[in-house]
Symmetry: C2
Subunit: 273 residues, 2 copies
Amino acid sequence: MAGTRHRQTVSAASARERASLRGSRPRGGERGAALPSFSPLYLQIKALLLRSLQVGEWQPGQLIPSEQELARRFEVSQGTVRKAIEELALANLLVRRQGRGTFVASHAEEGTRYRFLRLTPDGGGVLPRLSRRFLDCRRLRATPEVARALELAAGETVIELRRLLLEGERPIVLDDLWLPAARFARLDAALLARWQGPLYRLFELEFSLRMIRAEERIRAVAAAPAEAALLGVAPASPLLLVERRSFTYGDQPVELRRGLYLTDRHHYRNEVG
Amino acid sequence: MAGTRHRQTVSAASARERASLRGSRPRGGERGAALPSFSPLYLQIKALLLRSLQVGEWQPGQLIPSEQELARRFEVSQGTVRKAIEELALANLLVRRQGRGTFVASHAEEGTRYRFLRLTPDGGGVLPRLSRRFLDCRRLRATPEVARALELAAGETVIELRRLLLEGERPIVLDDLWLPAARFARLDAALLARWQGPLYRLFELEFSLRMIRAEERIRAVAAAPAEAALLGVAPASPLLLVERRSFTYGDQPVELRRGLYLTDRHHYRNEVG
DNA sequence: GAGTGGTCTAGACCACACT
DNA sequence: GTGTGGTCTAGACCACTCC
């Protein structure tokens, strides 16, 4: 059979999940306008896997079917499935473990605590476990700026949240968060008080919202009096301002965060290449 | 032949470049201590390609041999070469172009100007062409801190360099750089004055030094009087301090940089995931 | 031992760029 | 048309994990 099968012409047959992906070019009527140019099979498989993740067919931390099984299901070769999975693993959506299987990535794993927090102690080493102190949690109408960042309609309800991260008794980070209230129905101060783990793990568990990636904009600012007091520094002290937008599947923004980092004993670590 | 060839036992034959890579496990005497566990063929090929890059067999911007040719040279299949090249492309050491070939990455390409500079205008869009103004260039003995960062012996000579990046007439970045003098023999103020392009392109062209990746540590600081004057801001203004160590092949640090960024109209952009 | 991901091969064909 | 990287397949075997 090798080589006799035409690329992506694929037998008309079964596999309901493949119904939509016959034909290598996105159809656009009779004339081959060829705008998106070309869509390889493995990208179509990747999109199907992504859909399964998005609709919750496989939950964070769970084992997904083996490559062999997925290959049978999608009626493609194992190599094609592998390439799709590889890309999802590269994007931190899946985790492959030799001999065990492929798992849905989660914010629960010990190794990935603070996966999104790039703050690092100056001396080297890894950030110790920080304690969290929630200062505020309220519902209000989104300001135009917040609405724009979260892609909400003007005036929609958001949850505003303020918290401190502390190393022992020493404040390190002051975070203000805004979340679309529609997606975080049961979120309130009581729930936050009970919860001990990472915030993103709570979102995953209680609201079925997986944070996939985030964009950060970093600036140096002078501490306002109120913020300075909370962080225990003199007013006008220089602080690192980290504005973060976090996204879930489909590049939907679901969190806006404004963090003020104390960087006299820590720094924001980054790799460029 | 498919499947009959044993993994990495590989015929004793020719290809001098393969002489060193027979056997899947790094040898360590008779008892299989198995410390590094296992080294797949494609990683060995990757190491060989890396070596060719490092010794300058292929220069930045140049076309490297085709996958087929490399497969013949190393006596492995094209797929194995492909996987090695893919990893090097992922690390920005090579650039693959369908239909044309695989090229050695360079700091010359138009698309990758400011590849290491994560500063972005607040309004969105891309950083316009900045002008460079060199303020200082001198040779001196490395301070202990600089020596440590560049992995030099105490008291070795380094080149200290100061420059401004400006948008029009407005200063944006004040950079202090330290370079190991031994590697940058002909570097002086005159050479810098003549050069118009990116600094890393100059290093590539004149000193055969390719910057591969960099680590950055970011902080917020208050502007000292001298620096404030150069940047045209009030003393004690908050500035972003970006300490960068750049590395060439073999993870050798070859530049230490201390940048002060004005972030009232720009921000440092980052992606976390 | 069974099952999973990881490596390696060989070969065919496709998309793309240059000539 | 020729040559390059890109995709896809089929099959074998290896390394690892768990039973």
